[in-house]
Symmetry: C2
Subunit: 250 residues, 2 copies
């Protein structure tokens, strides 16, 4: 592998996430999307609808990662302040974008009003991100992709973002399912395997805790070289099975 894979951060914007009213699902959707593109998602942030927080997080993240993906705060109501914050972070104006305006006029016809017109405000120099669900576009400025908070719309916007990204080497993963014992019973074997293959990552994710059902753990081996991952998974499976532990490859 010659060039390192790109890195990314996600910034979730919205009081409703921090108040507990809404359970965020966008971070997971974006994480899976980035994994499929071989882009390393290194961190996530959740902030409220507050100017200082949005700008602070955005400026921090966009200088440290190849890409930043934001969700939320681009609707027509007064609490939607993301576009203004992004413009201020980049130090550019926030004019009406002619194409966004045309899209919104077409969408709303006689019901187009001042509030909806706010959704045509796009930071200078940004390009639009298509919204096939409700038309009101997101936008890209520099390495920042600004998307809607509604999950169905956010997910649709990722389609348009896809072609704009530099892709990396996809991370391969193999999972072994250990059952009947807790992760403490396999920890030493797992650690020895991890020490023997430092270019791979080995994780353990227990299940069944607190239930009356079966307990166990899923061991996940990850790395950018698929053959190494396969070999490490096969070897770990052999070793655990040889020690009399119930284990299967998923």
């Amino acid at each position: 592998m010659t060039e390192p894979s790109p890195t990314a951060a996600v910034l979730i914007i919205g009081d409703e996430i921090l108040s507990g009213r809404t359970r965020d699902t966008n971070l997971n959707t974006i994480a899976r999307f980035l994994a499929a593109h071989g882009i390393d998602l290194l961190e996530g942030r959740v902030v409220g609808d507050r100017r200082d927080q949005i700008i602070g997080a955005l400026d921090d993240l966009r200088h440290r990662h190849d890409y930043v993906f934001t969700t939320g705060g681009i609707g027509p109501t007064h609490d939607d302040i993301t576009a203004q914050c992004v413009a201020d972070a980049f130090g550019v104006a926030l004019p009406e974008h002619p194409e966004a305006l045309a899209i919104l006029e077409r969408r709303y016809g006689a019901e187009f009003n001042a509030a909806r017109r706010r959704m045509a405000l796009v930071p200078e120099g940004a390009s639009l991100i298509r919204n096939p669900v409700t038309d009101a576009p997101g936008f890209q400025i520099g390495n920042v992709f600004v998307m809607a908070g509604v999950p169905a719309i956010m997910q649709a916007m990722l389609e348009d973002v896809s072609g704009r990204l530099r892709t990396g080497h996809v991370v391969h993963a193999r999972t072994l399912r250990v059952s009947g014992v807790g992760e403490g019973a396999v920890a030493a074997t797992l650690e020895a395997a991890a020490r023997g293959a430092r270019h791979l990552s080995f994780g353990s994710y227990p299940f069944g805790a607190g239930t009356t059902g079966e307990i166990g753990t899923q061991l996940v081996i990850r790395g950018r070289d698929g053959a190494s991952v396969d070999a490490a998974a096969a070897s770990l499976l052999d070793e655990l099975a040889g020690a009399g532990i119930a284990v299967e490859a998923l």
Copy 2:
């Protein structure tokens, strides 16, 4: 209200969240728990199982908030590095905690081993957080509460945390459900209401986008004075209904 309500941050630790393998639910659980205690959750972070990231985020958050709640990375496997990172962030040692050791010995009996013994390592000066599900405790050091990543365990640990927190004034919320029109149709009315009651917050959360079902938006009015919230909700409902919009109080 004389004293400001306490503020808090949540730090979610785990590669499995950033890889997309696992969808985090702990942030939402903690958010609801804090809301019930009148504590303002101001931000969330998600980082991987990486020492520099964990320590960096922890040091940033614990100095800016009254409380920090972490989840993940306190199990028996080699990728569980949270306790060590917390000790290093606070500049203290990480000895075996006698009570934690006794709890684990009792739990595992003949199956107690070196990996499980790691779970007795607790930063000097920390107090234990009880785990009624699988016994292995979390801990509190200073204003930081370190909890398990498995949702059922994390939730149970919050019970023990509850009594240790300074509570604030609970935020009251009223929700109006607008149907048949998008949020752009009520944005101006909502903004005027918000301008008239700056001690309250007014949010709009659309639903139905991208489906063939009903569209609409939920308007949420929030504030620490319940009577003001009720009055603002009643007034907004009257105004919207008077304008011929289908709206009901939830």
